[in-house]
Structure formats: C-alpha cells, structure tokens
Amino acid sequence: MSADAILEVADAVKDFDGLRAVDGASFHVERGSITALIGPNGAGKTTMFDLLSGFARLNTGTIRFAGRSIGGMAPHRIARLGLVRTFQLTRVLAGMSVMDNMLLAAPSQPGEHLPSLILGPRRARAAEARSRADAQALLETFGLRDKARDYAGALSGGQRKLLEIARALMTQPSLVLLDEPMAGVNPTLGRAILDHIAALREQRGTTFLFVEHDMDVVMSRADRVIVMAQGRVISAGTPAQVRADPAVVEAYLGSASPETTA
C-alpha cells in the first residue's frame, strides 16, 4: 500500500445478526489528505467509522492507523492515538455547557488526572486557559460563540452537528472522521467550515475522512474519494476518476450526478 497512508483497512468484515454491513472492505487514506467516503444509504459507511473508532468490533480483517494495528482497541485508546470521529446522529453532552463540551475535548489536560491535579494545580489551570482560548476561536468559526454558555442540550439540530465537529477538532487529532458533517448545516456556514478544514490541513497536516452525500462538496473539496456499496469498496480515486466510474454512477450517483444538479 501507499507508504504515505495514515490509515489502512484490509478485508474488513462486520456482521449484525445475520446481516453483513461491511463485507470485506479494503482502502487506505493518505496522510494529510481530505478524503471523502461516499456510497448509498446503508452501504456501511457509518459502520466502517464505528470499526475505525473502536465502537464496533471487526469480525475479520485488519485496521492499521499510523502504523499500528487498532482493530479491537478501545475507543478511548484509539482517540488518544489521534483518530477522532463525530457521530452521524449527534451526541452532544446535553447537560453540560457548550464550552464545557469543548473543554472536555481538549487534549492533554493534566487536571484530568487526580495525581497530577493534586500535585500541579497550576499546570492544570494554565492548560485550562489555553484550551479556553482555543475553544473560543473554534466556536467563533462554527457560529456558536453566543451559545458558549448554553446547555448543549438546548441547541438546534444543526448547531449540535456544528458542536460535534468543533469538539472533534478541539482534540487536535491527526485523523478526523466526520460523519455527514454538512447534513443539516446551513450552506453559508458550511462553506466557512470547509474552508477551516482546508486550512487545518494546510497548517497542521490534519487528515480528514468524511462521509458526505452532498456531491458538490465532495467533488469540490475532496482530494480522493472512496466509494462503498453494500459493504464493499467499489471504487477509489480522484473525484474525477470516481465520477467517471460507471459502477459508481450506477450504484450511487444515479441521475443526481453533479452535472445535473448544478
């Protein structure tokens, strides 16, 4: 496989009582790329994210992230390695403020561990101040600045999605899995967020793998596109290559290929 792959999935299989949701999928994601994962509804994209992030166990197959095998690893350990996901059906921490949602995601806060909290309360406070500034900036980008003190449970559907993405970015991951980040997000704000993502990739080299059904976004923003259908990867390549792949048109794009919508 490509030497520069941050993520490599080989022959992943996942069954749910008799139903094969992921059926021997293999693909890789290049470091520093923005890669789209597309496919019809029920293709197994979210299930694939579950496998990558440790929320579901592979039946067979392997997953390597940054050179390490992460199949069967607990979600928090995978997250600590720098692979962070968002959820398609948003999961904000409803009874906490938006700001606390963000601060919780801050990486390496020494105050989260009792011994270092007791030994070095100063360091915890310093880290807290830094995270707060970061969080503030992210919330600004995501149009949630005014909501920082509100309970996350009082956010609108789209705002939840935004918080979810912002929170994932807050962890300073090396690979982010975004599950339909634009669904339900206002297009104007969506563009700003996509710009932010592109900038992060430039500045920090963050890799993005995102599931998205909006073909305009996929075609204009992704470096590579991976197409899943019925649990398998049926095509992968540049947006142009994929769009031209008859299998993809047949299985997924149908009449909705971007040419006809634009």
Binding site: D17, D50, A56, R57, R68, S69, G72, M73, L89
Partner: protein, 337 residues
C-alpha cells in the same frame, strides 16, 4: 506491538465463542443452562430432593414474577421507578380485607379490591405523576415521589388496619402430591395465575393496538404524541393495568402465603426490581422469567448451603447473570452510533 496482536488473538477467540453462543437466542441459552444445572442437581441429590427444590423455586419465582409484571409495565412504559409498587400490592390485599369486612363474599371482595387498586393507581397518576411529568421531572425525582407515595400508602393501610399480622383465612396447608413431590394447592394457583398473567400481558403488548401504542410511547413520547397517539390515554391504561396486576398479585400472595402485614410489599420490593431488571425492563415475560430464575437459584441453593445463605446466593447469581448477559434475558443491544 506485541500486546496489540495478543489482544487481537484473544479477541478472535472470544468472538468465535461468543458468536457460537450468540447463535442461540438468550432465553434458549438460559433454559439450556437451567436444565443442565437441574440434571447436575438430580445426580448429586437424587431426583426427589432436586425436583422438590425446583417446584419450590417455581413457587417462589411465581410470587416474585407476578408482582413484577405490573412494576415492569410502569418502569418500561412510563420510565418510573415505582418504589410504591410493593405498597400497591399491600393496598390490594387490605382492600380485600376491607370489602370482606363490609360484607362482600370473599371472591367478590377480591375483585372489587383489584378494581379499587386500579382506580387508586389511576388517581396517583392524576394527583402526582401527571404534574411531575409536565414539570419534566427526571427519573430520580420521580423515584423520590414514589418513595413518598409508598410511605403514604403503606402507613395509611397501617393507620387503619394496624401492623398486626392478618390472614385472608384460606387453607394454606393442603397440597397436591405429584408422586413424592408436594406442591401447595394455593401455590399451584399462584403459579398458574402468574404464568397466565404474563402471557396475557405479553400478548396484549405484542399484538393489540393499545399494546403497540404503549411500546411506541415507551420508546419516544414526543414522537408518539405527534403520531396521533392519545398519550394520556396510554398512561392511564398503564396505571390501571399496573394497579390491577399489583392487587392481583398482592391478593394472591396474601391468600397463598396465608399471613401478612403492611410490610410485605416493601420486603418483596427488592426481588421485584431484581426480576424486572434481569428479565429486561418493560417485558412481562422477562419479569416472570427473571422471578423464576431468582426463585430457582435460591431454592436450589438450599441443597448446597444452609438456607440462611439463600438470599445471598440469589443475589450472587443475579450479579453473575448480569455479567454474562449484559442485556438481560430478553433485552437487546442498542446501536452505539
């Protein structure tokens, strides 16, 4: 590195085993385990002792299971940890005493008591639960109110009836002989009524329109509401059913056990909850099966240990079962994402 592959390997082994086990539905698995245990006990202690303990386990389990059906309904549909449920059982039994004292013949007194308890349960909805629901009270808040209601019910009964032991006067000493085994006549009745109640409630939930509406309500209230379900009606029906079942089991308990005082509900409550949770909240089959499992494990344990350890063994088994069946007997795993 090595430790990752290590985990993967154990992972793989575990998944072979668990997928083999998962191929069997959990209730069948449970049944298989119980039968194996029974066989072991028959070999170790002889058929008579082992089977008699099994019969006793069924009886104990039916008391618990029957009591738990009403509880599981309220817990499942209304998400309310009804700490007062045991006291509804008590109320049912004492209503019977009251109506018999007022001159009704015993069977009629029992029926009236069940209706009265159902009405009382409905009244608690109007007076207590409805306002709390409107205030969006959380489940622990409801729990506090249930504790309060339980106190009010139990001690109102005690206020009027006293705390001395009462009896409904049924003959509790007759028994049916099945070969060398003995089963109390009234205990047999409890068993039959318990199983019938479970089946009826189960069928109603599964197939009738009101049953489906109840499950829909349990799943998502707002969505049920916008699907045109008269949610208040569902709530009322749930309370009526729960009150009726509570009284039924309270009366049966009082009759078959023969003597009781206003404490019997609160003493029973822990096992009712245990059965409810073990069987899977909201599932009437689960309540009865949960009760039977607890009953069997306790009675079987008397073959092995002094009977004073019976409750402890029951609880220990409960923990073990929960560890091995984290979804409960009839529960289902939820999608995590």
């Amino acid at each position: 590195m090595t430790d990752t592959t290590q985990t993967e390997r154990t992972e793989a082994r575990a998944s072979v085993l668990s997928s083999a086990l998962a191929a069997l539905p959990r209730p069948a698995l449970l049944l298989a385990v119980l039968i194996v245990l029974l066989c072991a006990l028959v070999i170790a202690f002889g058929p008579v002792r082992a089977l008699q303990a099994t019969v006793n386990g069924f009886v104990a389990g039916s008391y618990t299971g029957l009591g738990a059906i009403g509880l599981t309904l309220v817990l499942g549909v209304l998400k309310l940890v009804n700490f007062a449920h045991g006291d509804l059982l008590v109320t049912g039994a004492y209503f019977t005493i009251l109506f018999a004292w007022l001159g009704l013949p015993l069977p009629l007194a029992m029926l009236t008591a069940m209706l009265a308890t159902a009405a009382l349960a409905l009244a608690t909805e109007k007076i207590i639960w409805q306002p709390l629901r409107l205030a969006k009270a959380g489940s622990l808040q409801l729990f506090l109110s249930a504790i309060g209601l339980g106190l009010v019910l139990r001690f109102t009964v005690q206020f009027f009836a006293g705390s001395q032991v009462r009896t409904l006067g049924a003959n509790v000493v007759t028994s049916i002989a099945i070969g060398p085994l003995r089963l109390g006549t009234l205990q047999a009745l409890a068993l039959v009524v318990g199983i019938s109640a479970m089946v009826i409630v189960g069928l109603v939930l599964r197939f009738t329109s009101i049953g489906k509406e109840m499950r829909a309500f349990a799943d998502n209230r707002a969505l049920a509401e916008v699907s045109g379900i008269d949610t208040q009606h569902i709530i009322n029906v749930t309370w009526i059913a729960s009150g009726f079942l509570a009284a039924l089991s309270g009366i049966l308990y009082a009759t078959a056990i023969g003597s009781f005082n206003p404490n019997f509900g609160i003493t029973l409550l822990l096992s009712l909850f245990a059965a409810t949770v073990l069987g899977g909240i909201g599932n009437p089959y689960g309540a009865l099966v949960g009760g039977l499992v607890i009953g069997l494990s306790q009675e079987w344990s008397t073959l092995l240990f002094n009977a004073r350890w019976k409750p402890a063994v029951g609880f220990a088994l409960l923990i073990l079962m929960l560890m091995f069946m984290p979804q409960g007997i009839f529960g289902r795993a939820k999608r995590r994402s």
